[in-house]
Structures are given as structure tokens and as C-alpha cells.
């Protein structure tokens, strides 16, 4: 266990609370389950951890129809069938082991050095997937049925699991994880995040845009509130436009709303909001 703590990285602004949580989970060698609105940087956190601690990052993107075995290893029967017919490969058809490929979890277990394993959006899969994964993460080992081989982790990877809360996770699963909910950042924090992404942005533009962003986030009853990702993209668009780069014009006109609001109803509501703001000014 290295004593190097995690303190944030160049493009990821970390609040103190989360830093503590990451460090505790790493020390306890328990998976850390992160929940939160989309765009609060759940996935980014794993990237930042791997970057700062100099570990490799292995990402398992969970899909709805995924079976756990796919994440552990794959037995490539088709190639084996093919080889047995044509026999023109270096693999030995008689050795099943030659046709076993490690999945993402398998890769993390067999890695030479401690790595970061990100299991992204676990709630997409059904509860069987989560339950099956429990044992694997608990024991840090799994069997390859075809070869009757046990793969156990050489080093316990740092495991970060994210969930968008589409479905509730099962209690036994939660019991084996540490939990944190990432709240949406406050404006002051957002300013720092923006600064991390655009080191040379004009202050007028950044402050003006962030203020407007939070104002528009609080429009009544919008379905999909714009998140950090949308703000960053919006700022990118504003910066690319020579008229808005300075930021002064933003107080008179609000362009590129489509970058922030992606549902047509929300977009319409944001237009109403802009109109209303315009009326105040005149």
C-alpha cells in the first residue's frame, strides 16, 4: 500500500471531502461507489486518480445485456473452431487456455502493477450482474470454468464504480462498497473547474457565463438540467466566437442555447427565459 494520497490532478478539481473518501476507500481496499447527476465528474474522478497516482486505468463500460463472464474472460469458441478446421495458426487447438481472453476485470486482476479499475454505470446491467460481481470483488478471484483455473488478483486494484441511479442497487452489493454522492458543484467551485479546463479564459466571460448557467439551471421544471459538460462545451463555443470571446456581449445576448439544452421542451423554456431577461433590460 503506498502512502501517496490523492490530491486532485491538473484537469480535475477535487473537493476536500471527496479526496478523503477516495483515500479512505483506497486504504480499506474497498470499492468506492459514486452516484450523482450526470456531468458531476464521476468518471473523470477515476481518470484523475489513475493519472495522479501513476496507475493504469482499466475501464469496464457496463452495458444493459452484459453478463458478468464477459467482464471476466471470454472463451473464443469461434476462433478455436476455425483453427481446428484450417489449422494455420500458432495456437494449439488442444489447449483451451490459448483461446481464453481476459475481460476488463480479468485484466485488472492479472496486471503486473496495481491499477485503477473503473466500472462505469453499473446500474445499466441487471441485478444478477451486480450480485455475481459481489463475490468476485469480495474474494478478488474468479474461476475459468473451461480450464478449471483460478485467477486471483496479484494486487488489489483501486475500484471505482459509478451509477446514475437508474435502478436501485441491491443491499448486499451496497454493503460491500463505500458510498459517496457527488453533488452538483457550487458556483465558486465551478469557477475553479472552468479555470482548470480553460487556463487563459477571460474573467468576464467565465463569471458571466457561470452566472447565467446557474440561472438557467434553475428555470422551473426543466427536464434535463445542463451539467458541467454542457457548460464546458458552451464556453468552448463562446470562446470560438470572436464576438463573445471577451465576454462583454454576454450581458446583452445569450447565444448557442442548443449546447446547453438538448430536449426540445427545455430548449423552448430556455428561449422564454432569455426573452424575459431581454424584456427586463429594455
Amino acid at each position: 500500500m503506498d502512502n501517496q494520497g490523492f490530491k486532485g490532478s491538473s484537469t480535475y478539481v477535487l473537493d476536500e471531502e471527496l479526496a478523503k473518501i477516495v483515500n479512505i476507500s483506497m486504504a480499506l481496499e474497498m470499492p468506492l461507489l459514486l452516484k450523482g447527476e450526470p456531468g458531476t465528474g464521476k468518471t473523470m474522478l477515476a481518470h484523475a486518480v489513475s493519472e495522479t497516482l501513476g496507475m493504469d486505468l482499466i475501464v469496464l463500460n457496463v452495458k444493459s445485456s452484459m453478463k458478468l463472464v464477459e467482464a471476466l474472460y471470454q472463451y473464443d469458441t469461434l476462433t478455436r473452431l476455425n483453427d481446428s478446421r484450417f489449422g494455420d495458426s500458432a495456437r494449439d487447438v488442444a489447449t483451451i487456455g490459448d483461446y481464453i481472453k481476459m475481460g476488463k476485470i480479468g485484466q485488472a486482476f492479472t496486471a503486473e502493477q496495481r491499477c485503477v479499475l473503473l466500472i462505469d454505470e453499473i446500474d445499466k446491467a441487471d441485478s444478477d450482474f451486480q450480485d455475481d460481481m459481489l463475490d468476485v470483488l469480495d474474494q478478488m478471484q474468479f474461476d475459468i470454468i473451461e480450464t478449471d483455473e483460478v485467477i486471483s488478483a496479484r494486487t488489489r486494484p483501486v475500484i471505482i464504480i459509478t451509477s446514475n441511479a437508474k435502478k436501485d442497487l441491491s443491499d448486499p452489493f451496497l454493503g460491500r462498497c463505500n458510498f459517496h454522492h457527488i453533488a452538483f458543484p457550487e458556483p465558486a467551485m465551478m469557477r475553479q473547474i472552468v479555470a482548470a479546463h480553460f487556463p487563459d479564459i477571460s474573467d468576464t466571460l467565465a463569471t458571466g457565463a457561470i452566472d447565467l448557467f446557474y440561472e438557467m439551471r434553475s428555470i422551473e421544471a426543466i427536464e434535463k438540467k445542463p451539467a458541467t459538460r454542457e457548460l464546458i462545451n458552451w464556453l468552448r463555443a463562446l470562446q470560438a466566437d470572436p464576438d463573445f470571446r471577451g465576454g462583454e456581449l454576454l450581458s446583452r445576448e445569450i447565444p448557442y442555447l442548443g449546447v446547453l439544452f438538448k430536449k426540445s421542451d427545455d430548449y423552448r423554456k430556455s428561449l422564454d427565459f432569455v426573452h424575459q431577461k431581454g424584456r427586463f433590460r429594455n
Binding site: 476536500e16 473518501i21 476507500s25 469461434l78 441511479a165 462498497c177 452538483f184
Partner: protein, 398 residues
């Protein structure tokens, strides 16, 4: 160590497990926890597994380490409910002043916190019947007003607080809006919509997927593997009946409408009707309940598979429900009591629910809620309630 804290969390209804408590001790033993701040974070991340309990954790924490009073859960709900109505009310201060019996000038000088306390006090004391039906709810006891955590400028949740001690942070109660047993607000509408998305019928698994079957058979080394898909079924039809009479419903009418207008695409047809307090022979297509009456009997032409969702506080004078000519509107009096008409509706639509913005812990204080609950399956208009209601509506055999 911290055993009493552990049990207080458990008492407060947070599902904490002994295993995780031991894990917490492991963290303490390893020297990972060096201050109260560390403990606040470590205990929460290890013990509490859902953000919906964060608020309660904050309360217990500040109670344990700072001696703040633990608000009673019921008071809490009253808090929330009162606040929602008050917000709506304050759009028209004159009416609010008159209703609460305060001078408008005094009203302006009161802070929202004071107003809320006063308002709750009124709610508690109100024993008689308000004109036009018993719109006041009864309350559980006479416990003193718990501290009200009003956040100016609407709800603010989460966020970070630097340079503050854990006790202060906990007392801020940043996670208040994450509770899923609270009445719906426009902040939680996105979450509510996610619950509603489950209202999709699933066909039988009886369509052969040839491509996939061939692939799986090959993968199986030639052993036949047959893969079936679900049949495609038509989207659902929904009838939404909203009680839009009376101020107790005001905060929720627009909310429910917004919710279903967002969800419109997933349904084949959403029809919205209005009523006041309870349903007699007509529902109304216009919110003013004046221009476009729809005879209740005409609903027999609807597809019986239509899902009927009624939203109302179900709180009224018992005679409005039970007496043949109970309606407070003369022209609605037809001879059969409302309760019969409700029964008729529930027999007509085998999939139906009643959503009630009144928190379910208060239901037993209002007689009519109990009576209607016997006819319709009633769920509170909260995220949890909505989830259960959707489950109920999607049952295969009602």
C-alpha cells in the same frame, strides 16, 4: 467506540449494518481518522449507502456531536408540506394574509421562517372545519415546532462547504432534497420522470430471433440455442384526473401536468380531466371546470386497459362523499353519492391509482382519505409513492 452513534443512526431509520460498522473501526484503527471532520466523512462513506439518508445522517451527527435537537419525523413532513403550500400562497400575499388572519403589513415584516412557524402553528391548532370542506389536515400531536431549515431562494442541496467544521456542515443539512419520501417538487421532477419511464408494457417473450439464435448456436459449438425476443406492444393510454379545486392542491396541479406532458411521448394518449374534491357525474376538460363537461358514463367507451391516475388530497367533508346530493355545487347533484361513482370508476378501469400529496403518515387523521383508500389503491405523491404506483399500474393481473 461510537456504539451509541451507530444505534442512533439505526433508530433514525438509516439501514446501517454491523459489518460496515466494523469496517469503520478498521478505518479508525489504521489511523485514517484524525479529527471530527474525518470521522464525519469516513462514517458517512462507510455506513450510509444512499444519498437519500444523507440528510438524516447529518441530523443524527449534529445531534450526537453538537447536541442539536433531533426533529421529529412527523414535524419534518409538516415542515415540508407547509412550505410547499406557503410558497404557492405567497404569490398572492393579500389572500394569504386574509386566510391566516394577519394584517398584510405585519405579514410583510415577518421573515419566511417566522411565517412558516406561524403557519404550522395554525395548522396544528386548527380543529374545526374550514368553509367549503375540511381542507385542514389534523396533526399527530402538540410537539413544539422543530427547527425549520428554510433555505432562502428555494431549495439548495449538496454543494461543498470549505472552511467549516463537520458539525457546522452537518447542521447545514445540504442533502435535504434527496429524501425520496418527501412530496414532489420541481427539483425532483427529473427523478419522478425516471420512475414514470417504467410505465411501459412488455410483450410476451414469444418472437424468435433468428440472427441471434444462429450466432448463439455457433458459439455453442453447434448445439442448438434458441433466442426469443419480446413481442412489440402498443403504448399505454392514460387518463389523468386532477383535483384542482382548493389551495391545498395548488402547488401540485402544475407539477403533475408538467410531469405527464414530459412523459407524453411514451404514452399513446394522455387525457387530463379536472374535478373538485371528489368526482360526481362529470369530469371537466377545462381547468375552470365550466365549459367542457365530460359525462362520467361516457368513459365506458374507453379502452378498459387504460390506466386511470387520480391526483387529489381526498380530504373533504364526509357528506360530500357519502350523501346522494353531497356536491357543493348544486348542478352536480344527481342522486347517487360520490363514493358510488368512484367505485364505478375503479371497476371500469382495473388499473387505477390515487396519488395523494398529503404525506401518508397523516392519512389516518382524515376520514375521507381512509374511505377513498378502500376503493382506490392510494399512494403518496412522492418519489417513493410514484414508484410504487407505477409498479401497481403495471401489474399483470390486477
Amino acid at each position: 467506540m461510537f456504539v451509541s452513534f451507530f444505534y442512533k443512526l439505526k433508530q433514525a431509520g438509516i439501514p446501517v449494518s454491523p459489518t460496515s460498522f466494523l469496517t469503520l473501526h478498521r478505518a479508525v484503527d489504521r489511523g485514517l481518522v484524525n479529527s471530527v471532520d474525518d470521522f464525519y466523512v469516513a462514517a458517512r462513506t462507510v455506513l450510509v449507502k444512499s444519498e437519500k439518508y444523507f440528510d438524516r445522517y447529518d441530523q443524527v451527527f449534529s445531534h450526537q456531536f453538537h447536541g442539536t435537537e433531533l426533529p421529529k419525523q412527523q414535524d419534518e413532513e409538516l415542515d415540508f408540506w407547509a412550505q410547499a403550500m406557503l410558497d404557492e400562497w405567497l404569490k398572492n400575499p393579500k389572500q394569504a394574509a386574509a386566510a391566516m388572519g394577519i394584517d398584510e403589513k405585519d405579514l410583510q415584516e415577518m421573515s419566511i421562517g417566522e411565517l412558516l412557524d406561524y403557519f404550522k402553528e395554525r395548522l396544528r391548532k386548527q380543529k374545526g372545519r374550514h368553509d367549503g370542506g375540511s381542507k385542514w389536515i389534523g396533526t399527530g400531536g402538540t410537539s413544539p415546532v422543530g427547527h425549520s431549515g428554510y433555505h432562502p431562494g428555494g431549495m439548495r442541496v449538496g454543494g461543498q462547504s470549505r472552511n467549516k467544521s463537520a458539525v457546522q456542515v452537518a447542521a447545514e443539512r445540504r442533502y435535504r432534497a434527496y429524501g425520496t419520501d418527501r412530496p414532489l417538487t420541481s427539483d425532483t421532477i427529473g427523478e419522478a420522470l425516471k420512475r414514470l419511464r417504467n410505465m411501459v408494457p412488455r410483450g410476451a417473450k414469444d418472437r424468435l430471433n433468428i440472427e441471434e439464435s444462429i450466432y448463439q448456436t455457433m458459439k455453442n459449438g453447434g448445439e442448438i440455442e434458441i433466442v426469443f425476443d419480446r413481442a412489440i406492444v402498443d403504448r399505454l393510454k392514460v387518463i389523468l384526473a386532477i383535483d384542482n379545486g382548493g389551495w391545498s392542491m395548488d402547488p401540485y396541479v402544475a407539477l403533475v401536468q408538467t410531469l405527464f406532458s414530459y412523459a407524453q411521448a411514451q404514452f399513446k394518449d394522455v387525457r387530463t380531466y379536472y374535478f373538485h374534491n371528489t368526482i360526481y357525474d362529470t369530469l371537466w376538460e377545462d381547468p375552470a371546470r365550466y365549459k367542457k363537461p365530460v359525462a362520467l358514463n361516457s368513459l365506458v367507451h374507453c379502452d378498459p386497459d387504460t390506466r386511470l391516475i387520480i391526483v387529489g388530497d381526498a380530504s373533504m367533508a364526509p357528506y360530500e362523499l357519502m350523501v346522494p346530493d353531497g356536491s357543493i355545487y348544486a348542478f352536480e347533484r344527481s342522486g347517487s353519492p360520490s363514493i358510488e361513482r368512484l367505485r364505478f370508476l375503479s371497476e371500469l378501469f382495473s388499473h387505477s391509482v390515487w396519488l395523494n400529496p398529503v404525506p401518508d403518515s397523516h392519512w389516518r387523521y382524515t376520514r375521507t382519505i381512509g374511505m377513498i383508500n378502500e376503493i382506490f389503491s392510494m399512494f403518496p405523491l412522492s418519489l417513493d409513492g410514484l414508484e410504487q404506483a407505477v409498479k401497481h399500474l403495471m401489474r399483470k393481473y390486477p
